[in-house]
Symmetry: C2
Subunit: 344 residues, 2 copies
């Protein structure tokens, strides 16, 4: 089959790889209907050392069950399923607690002999714990929104949820990327009435307003902090959803969080240390979040998508064929595209 | 009157200061029955630059009302009261939320014309919001335990509470000082069944065991981390109560916290940055805590002390007269004494 390979920074190619087959009784084979490119794929795209032969890439996909192993029940050939961005057994203590990202028998796509998501098909380990069956046909118009359940939407939701967003909390969302916009949508869903979105791409912040943002702050750094403080009587917001992962974004988060408030971060940290000493201690700030256990949230987030109440799939503003994936990466890296969907 | 003054690092003296008088209608005058020396007083004792004439010091005290301003109600001359370690109006939004340490009209003892706690008397600003009346006479044997309500016990409690300790969480307490032992007591009170105390002073860890610690780890650094992991099947504990404030203690906290777990810190951070990048993000660790709003917890913690069910005052292992305060500081700094009570 054909799949996406990363050979090093800036070098994405689509090539032939072995067809996946069932290797373990807990596996399933999924033919990919839709996959997509993640903001986090841009980190290796920006800096990965050269790899002979290329590494598989992609961790967001939905598709159709082609075959299941003998120990997988509840799934049949033809079922449409979505896969969260890590696979997990669904039975260990971490999975039962809703922290599938720390599953004792789980792992990542595209590593250790497991297929990446940006290809024609995927062997899914621990299929019964990992996959979620979607009550739709493979031709549904809901595919883009359902695909967001793989990563971007639950990641935004994890951010809002761990920050403790509710109807009484004001919210700042840092970042107008697909995760930031998903965080806006999630904050709105959790009842927040005041959602300040920080971003400077008008088409993105416009979508953010449609998703629920009440204010947009285009400034950066100290000017952005000042603006949010102006908007909040000098106090900042109870919760801050940091959806970027860079140190200046986190510094901004500390600048706009209200005393006693919570910063949640879901942008993979591109830093080692956090400026969180005495000043943040004196103000009782909490820093939480982390890599989102998407699997834990899919059932909860699914109904509103099926009902058409929300359309998280609007974060996709470009669709490419599998052969065009290299250009999809380029477009996202150049900020021409917000988030790119792939049709194999 | 006589009060404690700090003239610089290592230079504590007791000297004459002006008698406090009511200055504002919201003030009260309190004759001090008991005060004490805090671990955080040792920071200026260790490093404060020389100050001409000396600065007032001390922020934990209980005493007897001598006089109240015209706008203070609910308190009368002769009432025994405890003061939390910051004063606060009790009416602003932060106070109503239980974050009196961020009170919009509050402040610290020993600064800006407000008396320190380690003296014969104190003018208490915002007395009605700050003080809590204790239903005891000034000769009660409960004074030491009631005095802990000023700081050390609610600080330990804040640590356990913000960490989310309950009957289902395992706990590591880092630090066998008075705050650490108060955190053990608090974790036990909140239902924790497994409480691992890190400390190497046998008299202190013995008291920790009496307060509820089920295991004591004497090792430090990597050896301590390894030991806690051994004790917890390799996983670490759900909650970590960091009661030291030094960077190595926080590093240890990250080493012993279970994935998805929470570190709460109440030791005033003696560092500016925290090593909390990708690894902690990947494990969904939360860092919370901060300076404890003691005032928020006093009513909740009082009954068990009055009933004699708990004796947090056992952290005091030395009592000095006011004139002996300099030696009290020395004894705590030299770790001869765990916590020193002062009888003016």
């Amino acid at each position: 089959m054909r799949a996406t390979l990363i050979h090093g920074a800036g070098d994405i190619r689509v090539g032939e790889v072995p067809d996946p087959v069932i290797r373990r009784p807990t596996d399933a084979l999924v033919r990919v209907l839709r996959s997509c490119i993640c903001g986090s794929d841009l980190w290796p795209y920006g800096s990965k050392p050269r790899v002979e032969g290329g590494d598989r890439i992609g961790h967001e996909f939905l598709g159709v069950i082609e075959e299941v192993g003998s120990e997988v029940s509840g799934f049949a050939r033809g079922d449409v399923v979505v896969a969260p961005f890590v696979w997990s057994d669904g039975t260990c203590d971490f999975c039962r607690e809703g922290l599938q990202t720390s599953c004792r028998h789980g792992g990542s796509w595209g590593r250790d002999g497991v297929d990446g998501g940006q290809g024609e098909a995927v062997r899914v380990p621990q299929a019964q714990g990992t996959l979620v069956k979607l009550p739709v046909g493979e031709d549904t118009v809901l595919l883009p929104s359902l695909l967001t359940l793989s990563d971007v939407y639950p990641t935004g939701y994890h951010c809002a949820k761990t920050a403790g967003v509710n109807e009484r909390t004001t919210v700042t969302v840092i970042g107008d990327g697909a995760v930031g916009l998903s965080a806006v949508l999630s904050a709105k869903l959790l009842g927040a009435e005041r959602i300040i979105l920080m971003g400077r791409h008008k088409d993105r912040t416009d979508l953010g307003r449609e998703f629920g943002a009440t204010d947009v702050v285009e400034e950066r750094g100290d000017a952005a902090i000042e603006r949010v403080r102006e908007l909040t009587g000098g106090d900042g917001t109870h919760t801050v959803l940091e959806c970027v992962g860079l140190e200046p974004a986190l510094d901004t988060a500390f600048g706009v969080v209200r005393a006693g408030g919570t910063i949640s971060r879901v942008g993979a940290p591109q830093y080692e240390k956090v400026a969180f000493g005495f000043p943040g201690f004196l103000r009782n700030i909490t820093l939480t979040g982390g890599v989102a256990p998407a699997r834990a949230y899919i059932e909860e987030l699914l109904p509103a998508i099926l009902d058409g109440k929300i359309e998280p799939g609007r974060v996709f503003d470009r669709t490419v064929k599998l052969d065009e994936v290299p250009d999809g990466y380029r477009a996202m890296a150049d900020r021409e595209a917000l988030k790119v969907m792939i049709v194999p």
